[in-house]
Amino acid sequence: MASVVLAVYLVGLGLTIAGNSVSGSSALLRTIKQRLFSPWMGPAWLDLGFDQPLTYGLPEDADHDLEVRRFEVDGGAEKNGPLRFPGNRTGERAARWRRLARRIASAASDETAVPLAAGFGQGAFEAVGGEDVAVRAVRWPLEEREAPAEGPRPVKPYEARVRLIDGELQLVELGGEAKRGELAPVLREQSAGAAVTGEGTSP
């Protein structure tokens, strides 16, 4: 019996690696994995691809930070500086904020990350002291080896306005790499505590 359980688990382990490949997976393997293995391996945090390349040298591999501040309609100077995450946090604690920042930065091209940006903005209402905030993902570009040894100048891959109006949480994208100056909210949902929904992706 134990041998059967082990064999089944090893098949599942193989499928999680094949099914979480950064290159994608075949429909066959994906279906088998999702029907037979993900229901019990996912909740146990065992549905893992281990596809950790450490780096591909891509812009997305750079360090990312998050900034949130009160939204200024006229873009005027802020009385107080933005709240920064990870800010002065260090170690693994800072790394977790950077992962969140990297995911929110991807909202420029990945719709599933938009609810995270909205959730982050909404969660910052109290800290910022208002229900209308600007959320900004900041990227510290990777330095070219041949370039002069100067500190990288940060760029803004994603920026959005998150506001609560009559109980409705709205996210209006302000700028960034992929989407610029959309005027209408791209996300509108009734806010009841945590009211933003998203389809999400695998971790």
Binding site: P43, P115, G193, A194
Partner: protein
Amino acid sequence: MSGPARPTTGADSAPSGLAAVGEAWLAYWFAPADPRPLALVRILTGLLGLALAASYAADLEAWFGPGGMIPVSATGRSGPTFSLFAMATSASALQTLFGVLVAALVAVTLGLASRGACLVAAVLWAALLNRGPVLAGPADDCLAVLLWCLAVGPSGSVWSLDRWISARRGSPPPAPSPWVRVALGLVRVHAVAITAGMLLAQLKGDVWWDGTAAWWLTTRSQSRLVDLTGLYRGSEYLMNLVTHAIVGFEILFAIGLWFDATRRLVARAGIVAWPLIGTLAGEPFWGLALAICCVPDAFGPDRAGYTA
């Protein structure tokens, strides 16, 4: 491919075909094994778990509390998930649940009610990661795997409060359990799977072929632990060497762990190399987690096997 250490007892004849495969399978998974390497893995895993849990503690409510920055409905993960932490709708419930996780990790480290503590820690750690998948890193994945492996085997049969309490009561040492080998076998399989998965991912990227990956690892100005940009600017060959050495080690590790002749050497190299690679990559806890996976093969009994 040779199998793992064969038990000192058993048939000496050399079967062939399916029988040989069956025997190798049974020897790999169920032969009696020294419980001390598993106990060492338990202690180190408990300490790693406490360190990783500490990185959640200060921001726990900011992320997952009522009105937190990562709402339950926006965890960013698809597929079937279940998280006890998603049910914690008040700050006190969240802190209580997290407190139980920390207590379980302390019990894992000390070896108190070891199997149950490992199981509780594994369940709650998975629940915490499922609550905020976007915050999870590679070290968290490795910790989850290690905790589940420990929950399988009797990791508290030596070097534990469990054993100390039993000894005070005059209980004899526990009989050798095949589940020790199952747990150790799973640790090894996962160490190889993690390495192979990483290797396959790396070989899809040009930077691991053209030898520049080491540069891109060290040029992350905000998160790097060591700044080697000056060295790499001065020597392209050094940068190439470091890149190729990482890939070369991963290949040797994923293969060498399966052969009796190379297993111990490769595992001992892993205890040094993984933390170094983790430091270079800005993921020190991930490096330590993989080093923990090497402990049983680096310091466990050699191929002569274990006899109670």
